[in-house]
Amino acid sequence: MPPSSGTTVIPGQQIIVADPLGNQYRTTVPQGVLPGSTFHVRVPAPTPAVPTPPPPPPPVPPRAAPMNAVSGAADGDEGDDDIGEFIPLNPDVRRDSVKGTLFSDEVLGAGAGVVSGAGAGGPGVVSGASSSTGAGTGGASGGAGWAAAGGGGALGAMAHATTRQLREGATPPGRRLSRLEVTRGAPLWVALGDGQSGAQHGALGLVVSSVWARSSGDPARSSGDPDERLESATVLVRDPLTDELRLVTTSEITSEITSEIGTSLASHAPRRRLQLPDEVAMRAFQPEGALVSAASLARLRASMQAALGTLAMRRAVLNAIPLLLTQGGAVSGAERDAVSGMFGSLALPDLHQLLKLAHAAGGARFEALLDGLRVLLRDLPLGMKRLPALLCEDALGHIHRSMASVAEVQSHHPLGPGCTSRQVQYAPPSNSDDL
């Protein structure tokens, strides 16, 4: 992984990583780590503002190989026996002063998480990403592992980007989330407000459940309903300030917090906002001009990580759908249960959307998916009787679009029977551009 200086980091070389709060730690690349490989860096949890119960055990990230400590910086060892290989440089240094280098090093860790998720593929089998990113919450949500694996690594980088934006006072833009984006286990960025101070900080969470409503007040039917909107969502959140896992039910419509587990938030917290992490990253990459600074390059890298996260999500879907379709095939019970848990509540349009994502993932696995679809179409289960008509309508729509996507150019002399060799005279304007 090249640092911002452009050289390649090799095993044994020291690098600087940072957690989402901007705390910096120096560590050494373990021996045996190849370019693109994953290694985890554990950092101490920040001292919580209030006493909190011990968090659930993390999803067992592999420990990094022992690293050489750097003398003269022992602040980070406090209160955590697991931390021995990391030495915080100076937690009080404002990240903005060195953001280019540090950000890119942080993305290094996040990137490894994404690659790990994409490679593992199958649902529920991917471990959490770098613990320095806070994405370890993925393993704590049971069947949500596939979603965490897809975006986990990238989320850390995005979390930092947004954290920095929140520090700078930027207001996250609102966007209506679709039902598909808020499926169980999907990563969401949650802006948590402090009702007393008015300050905001963000946290990454995984969706546990969601409630949808239509503008008219009627219950929402499916993701194809344009009037539906997310009313509330319960999200498993790891607070970057306290390193605490908690369930938070938050609303896009009202400012009321309906329930939460763990340390109480302020009772009059301001309205919260749910946001997709990839949108956060994309906003962080909004060009301010030419790529002239290390910070811009770091944002570019964050954007690339977001793209990788999207790809990993699609790969996970690609792996999951065949399991969904082959209900009685050679799928182990555990896998089938995991998939049923994830997709059991999906409506038919949602399955259609997932097929699109799976196709976008590409690769030979989609052929296997089509084979499974063929089997499914021959023996449609209840609730999917409309699937053939839906696929047919969609196929015709695509063909229609393809037919309309044609550009044609023709000479002044039209072609036609008997005209192929006829020479005609005309005086075309020089260098004309007909179309």
Partner: protein, 139 residues
């Protein structure tokens, strides 16, 4: 002969959103080799970015230039340069009939949002699959 020697026409073929274009020439085109007339598919508005050049007629495979088989080029835009023949005796320009069509061979990778809003890009294969597995859906 270069494109600068004679006045020529430059056409732009664009299919928005395409990642690659399939360029097809009408089989009735005829572009004589002597005196020469040609169609050049180029990435730029000049022959410097030439990707393929068509001369002659479809039946003879276009002589020294590309046979008149469809070609696939990357991108959503190509320029078509028509270089007409010169009739030396009369000093007049002559042109022959031609027609090209560009269709999207592949589409640019859309964003997640665009992916969900667009059709599953498997029109004909999906109809074929339905014909096999659920023909009732096509009636």
């Amino acid at each position: 002969m270069t494109s600068d020697d004679l006045p020529h026409q430059v056409h732009t073929l664009t299919v928005q959103g395409a990642a690659s274009l399939r360029i097809e020439l009408d089989a009735r085109c005829m572009l004589p080799t002597s005196p020469p007339a040609s169609l050049t598919i180029s990435r730029t508005r000049t022959a410097d970015g030439a990707l393929a050049k068509f001369q002659g007629k479809a039946a003879d495979g276009g002589a020294a230039s590309q046979p008149w088989l469809p070609i696939v080029v990357a991108g959503d835009t190509v320029f078509v340069l028509y270089e007409p023949q010169r009739d030396n005796s009369a000093g007049a320009r002559a042109c022959w009939g031609y027609r090209l069509r560009a269709v999207a061979e592949t589409w640019r990778a859309p964003s997640e949002d665009e992916t969900l809003k667009s059709h599953l890009p498997l029109g004909w294969p999906m109809l074929h699959l339905l014909l096999e597995a659920a023909p009732a859906a096509l009636t």
